[in-house]
């Protein structure tokens, strides 16, 4: 009965490396979101998955960012060729239905790109 979980909690990487961030939403939640929380930009939407529909990728900042959601559950956010400006806390959230309501947030993954 746990909430949204994310791993790793912290990730330090070198510029140019690829990273994968994982999100486990609350079981049964149909919608899953990725957001980024950074000092200069606040909380920004990245990508949204709803059931079996095509994801809304309108918030992804560049083509180095991609995400997938397997089996309607776990999601992975991949950042290729990381840059220092990618340093941020990456938050995942889920919600129960397509009719909206409360989004439940995970604890976040703090990414630091050296």
């Amino acid at each position: 009965g746990a909430g949204v979980s994310q791993s790793p909690s912290n990730k330090v990487t070198e510029k140019g490396k690829d990273v994968e961030l994982r999100c486990d939403p609350i079981s049964g939640h149909t919608a899953l979101y990725w957001y980024r929380q950074s000092l200069g930009q606040g909380l920004e939407f990245l990508i949204y998955f709803q059931g079996n529909s095509a994801p809304d990728k309108s918030g992804l900042p560049s083509d180095r960012f991609s995400a997938e959601r397997t089996g309607g559950s776990v999601s992975t956010l991949t950042i290729q060729r990381t840059q220092q400006e990618d340093s941020a806390v990456y938050l995942c959230a889920s919600t129960l239905t397509a009719k909206g309501g409360e989004q439940f947030f995970g604890p976040g993954t703090r990414l630091t790109v050296l």
Binding site: G3, T30, A31, Y33, Y35, G42, L43, E44, F45, Y48, Q50, D56, G59, L91, A93, T95, T97, A98, K99, G100, G101, E102, Q103, F105, G106, P107, G108
Partner: protein, 110 residues
């Protein structure tokens, strides 16, 4: 385009004083407004949503469509209210993504 504005980055009040965190929005359709809160070292969590019309932890927020505002108020602030507060909106009746304001860091002084 939709936008949420929180004009105060930092707000300090004394314990027992009233507090108001301002939020203004722009949205062309029918919005649903939320206040989320993040206490120190905790995850972001929902405080209020306008359609519930509830009072949570003594906080209330009224949606004013004429002024496009959704200010958060509490008559008597407590030290445990110190946190980062985010106003957010989405399209009503949908599970679309949230658009967040930049947040207000509230500090309640003893």
């Amino acid at each position: 385009a939709q936008r949420v504005t929180q004009p105060e980055k930092l707000l300090s009040v004394f314990k027992g004083a009233p507090v108001e965190l301002k939020c203004n929005y722009s949205y062309s359709g029918s919005p649903e407004l939320f206040w989320y809160v993040q206490y120190s070292r905790q995850r972001l969590q929902l405080l209020l949503r306008h359609i519930s019309r509830e009072s949570i932890k003594g906080f209330t927020a009224d949606l004013n469509k004429g002024e496009t505002s959704f200010h958060l108020k509490k008559p008597f602030a407590q030290e445990e209210d110190s946190a980062m507060y985010y106003c957010a909106l989405t399209s009503a009746g949908s599970a679309r993504q949230l658009t967040f304001g930049s947040g207000t860091q509230l500090t309640v002084l003893p």
